[in-house]
């Protein structure tokens, strides 16, 4: 009996080293990028050439975007918070994965998230980690934060490729008049089980595809103050994201 007690003590003590109980499913929220199914990662930055819907050749040297209010809601209306906000930076692997602290049971959920910040959250200067990495959106354009920064070059066969700065955020209608430009997503029937990995995928090609076939010669740089370009990005963004679980 004493032997059993000592063994139990040793085992219990070892188990208590773990940060969480093994019965609680740990979930992982991953942010991945692809170009029509081909994975896009840090190694592709400034090196891999793509052809967009308009047959422009382009590369991507910087890709950062913001996803906020990632939540799961079950059929009883219980909401599980996965992430307040995440600045995804393809050049920084640490930014591609989040481990939610909330306990999330296996089940089927409606998953919601916001590309960018909605008006409630897009508060100028409110987020120190975003302030320090050049993510603010100019006050003259409505303030708050960028939603996306995709920089690169196109017309790659030219002697000197042309730059593009595909930056998205609040849309400036006119002096002092601004329009929210985030996109809210609601994905039904998201099954969380197995390994507990939830993945938000961005298909970069979709930014250039529909409903507007993006013509880089028409919209390339200085797009931040360009209302029309900002709204076209918003429209094209509707088909950019997908959710998978495993």
């Amino acid at each position: 009996m004493r032997t059993f007690a000592l063994l139990a003590l040793a085992a219990l003590t070892l188990v208590s080293c773990k940060d969480v109980d093994e019965d609680i499913p740990l979930r992982t929220l991953n942010f991945t990028q692809n170009w029509d199914g081909e994975p896009f990662s840090q190694a592709d930055l400034a090196t891999t050439a793509f052809v967009n819907e308009n047959n422009d050749t382009l590369d991507i040297s910087r890709l950062r975007y913001l996803i906020s209010k990632v939540r799961l809601e079950n059929s009883k209306g219980t909401v599980f918070q996965l992430d307040d906000y995440q600045l995804v930076d393809v050049s920084n692997e640490n930014s591609l994965t989040v481990t939610p602290s909330a306990y999330i049971p296996n089940g089927t959920y409606t998953m919601t998230f916001v590309y960018g910040f909605d008006q409630q959250d897009n508060i100028d200067g409110a987020y120190p980690d975003l302030n320090s990495v050049g993510w603010s959106w100019p006050d003259m354009l409505g303030g708050g934060y960028h939603f996306m920064q995709m920089d690169g070059t196109y017309d790659l066969d030219a002697a000197i490729p042309k730059p593009y700065n595909f930056h998205n955020g609040t849309a400036r209608v006119s002096n002092g008049v601004f329009e929210a430009n985030h996109i809210s997503f609601s994905i039904p029937e998201v099954r969380v089980r197995g390994r507990g990995i939830i993945e938000i995928q961005m298909n970069i090609a979709e930014w250039f595809r529909m409903p507007y076939t993006w013509v880089l010669d028409d919209y390339n740089t200085s797009l931040m103050p360009n209302y029309e370009a900002q709204k076209l990005m918003n429209e094209n963004g509707a088909s950019v994201f997908a959710v998978v679980t495993e």
Binding site: A10, L45, S61, G125, N131, G134, M224
Partner: protein
């Protein structure tokens, strides 16, 4: 049950308990149970409001004794091979801790090949990459290098440590800071890093403007708007904005200086061909005191710097796409816009910083 087995089980349980105790050996002073006097970092009001908490290594907390020792070391030529060159000789307080010469001169009379970087606000460097090429991944590691660089102090660490150990005063100061009179390179760089972290600059005219204490002139305000306008200056993507009082993104860019690179910058450290010719965005604070400019000090005046971005951009394969007007040579500012932009940039200088008695020898 045999006694030996019982003891083994108890031993395993004890081991497990010990293993659960996190980071016990990482606690400051845990090695020798000595703890110097804590010295919290003073953060300007805007920093506390807008920036993440400062990065201070767990194994090198700020202390009164450590900072005092670091300051003495910073101003003391004892670290150089011939006792003639101190850190402060190439990082002068009056120049916001940079050098007014294009290239600093080492003890052998040879120049370096990059302009000395100014020193301030390091605890808020979120990337924790230091030097123009990002070669140092902590302030402590950065402080390790100049002592043994042939074109700087040209010393060896064993020699420098011996000099300090033989000194009448230093062993006592190291004991006060670290609890032991035994000096080594790690403690030297820790002390210097502690002093460097106290070099905080946060009281410029623009800071006071944001706090409602001072008003910008019309020219300065126009300059700020040019700085923030993607269609004109577009400076903010790399150099911060009113919500980033560091005035740098602490990242690396090819800003269109050359078509070919005599100095590979970040690419020389990482070996990545796509990072050739990239250098760290310097903070725009204290430009009034930090000429010459750029990683190689090629521009003597702010006018030359602004002209570069306005008309002087040069294409190279790794140029940052943010240098979007390279085909036209730059952003083509008018004479008035250039004057206004310069006026704004000068509002980021902080006279209190360069005259702070805590930072003088």
């Amino acid at each position: 049950m045999p006694q030996l087995v019982k003891r083994a089980i108890v031993f395993i349980a004890a081991l497990a308990i010990v293993a659960c105790t996190k980071d016990s050996t990482d606690e400051p002073g845990a090695d020798d149970a000595y703890t110097a006097t804590p010295l919290p970092l003073k953060a300007p009001a805007l920093f506390g409001q807008l920036l993440p908490v400062p990065t201070i290594p767990a194994d090198n907390p700020q202390t009164v004794e450590g900072v005092a020792l670091g300051k003495k070391l910073f101003f003391d030529p004892i670290l150089s091979a011939d006792n003639t060159l101190a850190c402060a000789d190439c990082h002068k307080p009056a120049n916001a801790f940079t050098d007014s010469r294009q290239f600093s001169i080492g003890i052998t009379g040879s120049p370096g090949f990059r302009n000395s970087m100014p020193l301030y606000n390091f605890a808020w460097n979120s990337s924790q990459k230091f030097n123009w090429d990002g070669s140092a991944t902590s302030l402590e590691k950065q402080a390790f290098e100049p002592l043994r660089n042939p074109v700087e102090m040209n010393n060896t660490w064993p020699n420098a440590v011996a000099s300090l150990q033989d000194d009448g005063e230093y062993p006592i100061l190291f004991e006060a800071a670290f609890g032991t009179q035994t000096i080594d390179s790690v403690k030297v760089t820790k002390a210097i890093a502690q002093f460097l972290r106290t070099l905080v600059s946060g009281n410029s005219k623009f800071d006071r403007h944001l706090l409602g204490l001072e008003t910008l002139t019309e020219s300065e305000q126009n300059g700020f708007e040019i700085f923030m306008d993607e269609s004109r200056g577009d400076c903010f993507h790399c150099h911060g904005d009113r919500n980033n009082p560091l005035w740098t993104d602490n990242s690396f860019h090819n800003n269109g200086l050359d078509s070919e690179f005599a100095d590979p910058g970040l690419g020389g450290v990482t070996g990545d061909p796509q990072q050739m010719g990239l250098f760290k965005s310097p903070s725009l604070r204290n430009l009034a005191y930090t000429a010459p400019y750029m990683h190689d000090g090629r521009f003597q005046t702010l006018e030359e710097v602004i002209d570069h971005y306005s008309e002087g951009l040069v294409y190279s394969p790794t140029i940052d796409p943010l240098m979007k007007t390279v085909a036209e040579g730059g952003v083509q500012l008018s004479v008035q816009e250039k004057a206004d932009l310069k006026a704004f940039l000068l509002t980021l200088s902080d006279p209190e910083f360069i005259s702070n008695p805590d930072f003088q020898q």
